[in-house]
């Protein structure tokens, strides 16, 4: 099974700047998801992008998907201190006996936004 690999592992920026995180994967996917994890908390779903989509927006979030490069990026515009968290991508991973896929995660990008 494959997993997404997030890059960079850590990112430190000032409030107001944009933050860009990348995710690369190895085999073809049906969809890719981005999640956020605040320190000591569970993961929260941010956005899902399907393999036939190239870009999606949600508020200050912009996700792109380039299936030819097997990569996705998450852009957070005008970052705030409250955006400080770890961000994970999840790809189609472990196949089930029925042929569907269990989402598979990497180790995330740790984002720190300084006020």
């Amino acid at each position: 099974s494959q997993q997404g690999e997030e890059d960079p592992q850590a990112l430190s920026i000032q409030e107001g700047e944009n933050a860009t995180m990348n995710c690369s994967y190895k085999t073809s996917i049906n969809n890719l998801q981005w999640y956020r994890q605040n320190s000591g908390r569970g993961l929260v779903h941010l956005i899902l992008i399907r393999s036939n989509e190239r870009e999606k927006h949600s508020g200050r979030l912009r996700v792109t998907l380039d299936t030819s490069k097997k990569s996705s990026s998450l852009l957070i515009t005008a970052s705030r201190a409250a955006d400080t968290a770890s961000y994970f991508c999840a790809t189609d991973g472990r196949p089930t006996p029925g042929g569907s896929y269990i989402p598979t995660f990497g180790r995330g990008t740790s984002l720190i936004v300084h006020p």
Binding site: R41, G42, S86, A90, T96, I102
Partner: protein
């Protein structure tokens, strides 16, 4: 109301002991999961159940035994705890299995084995 709830939030125990973590979801989802997050934040799938039936067992040692009494509950029992079992364990649920849909996570259960 918490959608996916896990108990306990913290567990500190000695090597060799047996412990359980409970998980309940009130979302009406068919599929539930256990993930393990290590100290480097790597999140790895352990088990997945769909309508009380095990569909994924990701080469987890036999010391780990999940149980799903009904589709709203998925508990994790760990026998003979080892130091390497120290991690944060997350329960999650989704509407269906492998439909690419959103996972809903609990807040995690931090297990420390001394």
């Amino acid at each position: 109301d918490t959608a996916v709830s896990q108990t306990p939030k913290y567990l500190v125990t000695q090597m060799g002991n047996d412990k359980s973590i409970k998980c309940e979801q009130n979302l009406g989802h068919d599929t539930m999961y256990w993930y393990k997050q290590d100290s480097k934040k790597f999140l790895k799938i352990m088990f997945s159940y769909n309508n009380k039936e095990l569909i994924i067992n990701e080469t987890v040692p036999n010391r780990f035994s999940p149980k799903s009494p009904d589709k709203a509950h998925l508990n994790l029992h760990i026998n003979s705890l080892e130091l390497g079992d120290s991690a944060v364990y997350f329960c999650a649920s989704s509407l269906g299995v492998g439909d690419g849909g959103e996972l809903f996570f609990g807040e995690g259960s931090r297990l420390t084995v001394l």
